[in-house]
Amino acid sequence: MDIDKIIEITIAEFNDSQSEYEISNKKDFLLIGNKSSLDSLANVNFLTRLEKNIFKNKNKEIDLINKIFLIKKENIYLDDLTNFLKENL
């Protein structure tokens, strides 16, 4: 399963798991940054699920929550996360 599909499935799981926050599967969706609609717990929820789905589908462990800040951008969009995963997995 490719990264785009894993992310799509994880977004659906995240959205179904609660009703307070919604992630759109769009490149310019802001995950981490001052104006993001997600709070830190919502981000943790999504990224933890993504780690598990990556392991399940690619049999690779990634410490995503620590690694995502290596992107070193003030605002991290879904597109940034996708590209990061494609380059590092």
Partner: protein
Amino acid sequence: MEIKKISLLDYQEILALTKKNDLDILNEKEWKSLWLDNPYYNDVKGEWTIGWKAVSENKIVGVTLNIPFIFLFNGQKYLAAVCNNYVVDKEHRNISLNLRYHFLNQQKVDLCITNSANNASEKIMEAFKARKIEQYDYQNRLIYLINKKKVILNSIKNFNFEFRKIPIFLQSFFNKKNKEPKKKFSFEIINNFDDDFKNLDSKLSKSGKIFSSKDQNWLSWKYSKYIKTQNLITLKIYKEKTFLGFAVLIKNIEKKYNFKRLSLTELTLFDEEPLALRSIINHCLEIGKNINFDLVDVVGFNEKKRKELENIGFIKKKSKNFNFLMKNNNKNLDKILYNDIHISDFSLTDGDGIFYL
């Protein structure tokens, strides 16, 4: 939005941010003392990041402080970073992950610790691969009710009497009698840490436990606020004039019910002989009775100490969440920290919880 290093000059802005979010903060002198009087900070001549701040439109909107502690195991020293004063403005809560990232990914630090995590912090720390400490029964506080009548009456008066706690109160009325051993030990009460505390770490090096430094300079720094306000009681125990160990009690008020509380934050014996342990704990309770305090409370300590406390009559009270988490950056410590619940003897003294009694 930028993440920058904090300076000591940021205190007033951090004070405003903390108060705005209804949290506690030390006064300016005590706050600066976290580093200026810290033995490690002085050793490295200030080459230490005291914390990180999130700045938006020239205003601090989030903060995490970073305090150095030294831990020891088998005579080996380990550098720990303790998280403190973690606060983020509501409208900027998304940036808290960035602050946590900076704290938890420091170079040259063996351990990253918090022992005052709330529910949200607990989840976030675990997401960053910090782990709850492996220690016998840490989730349960231990409480000894000295003034049982006042405790129950105050609880009812505040209309907050939780009926599920009735068994706890009933249990306290049937506290096992303290079995005071024959008088083998003598005690000395002081309100600081004297010369007997010099090189205490080397005396504890064969204890087989991991602990934050008990040397005079470290204890004097850690408890300086309570020494100044005369809320510190150090109880030393001797056998035939040989110093065997000590306990520390901090006088404070339990805010919810307005109880006068003694928090037992140190309980260290070079050889954890049961009779000595029992005797020093009993003496702590005597102190509490003599100065008319309402209860003695304990967070943490190893199984041996906790069982002795329970035998004497302390009762368990479950904490709302597991608040002691640690991220280990030193693989040599994995076996020490996570394989044996008997090696750690952590308590309030081993993190930032000690500063807010």
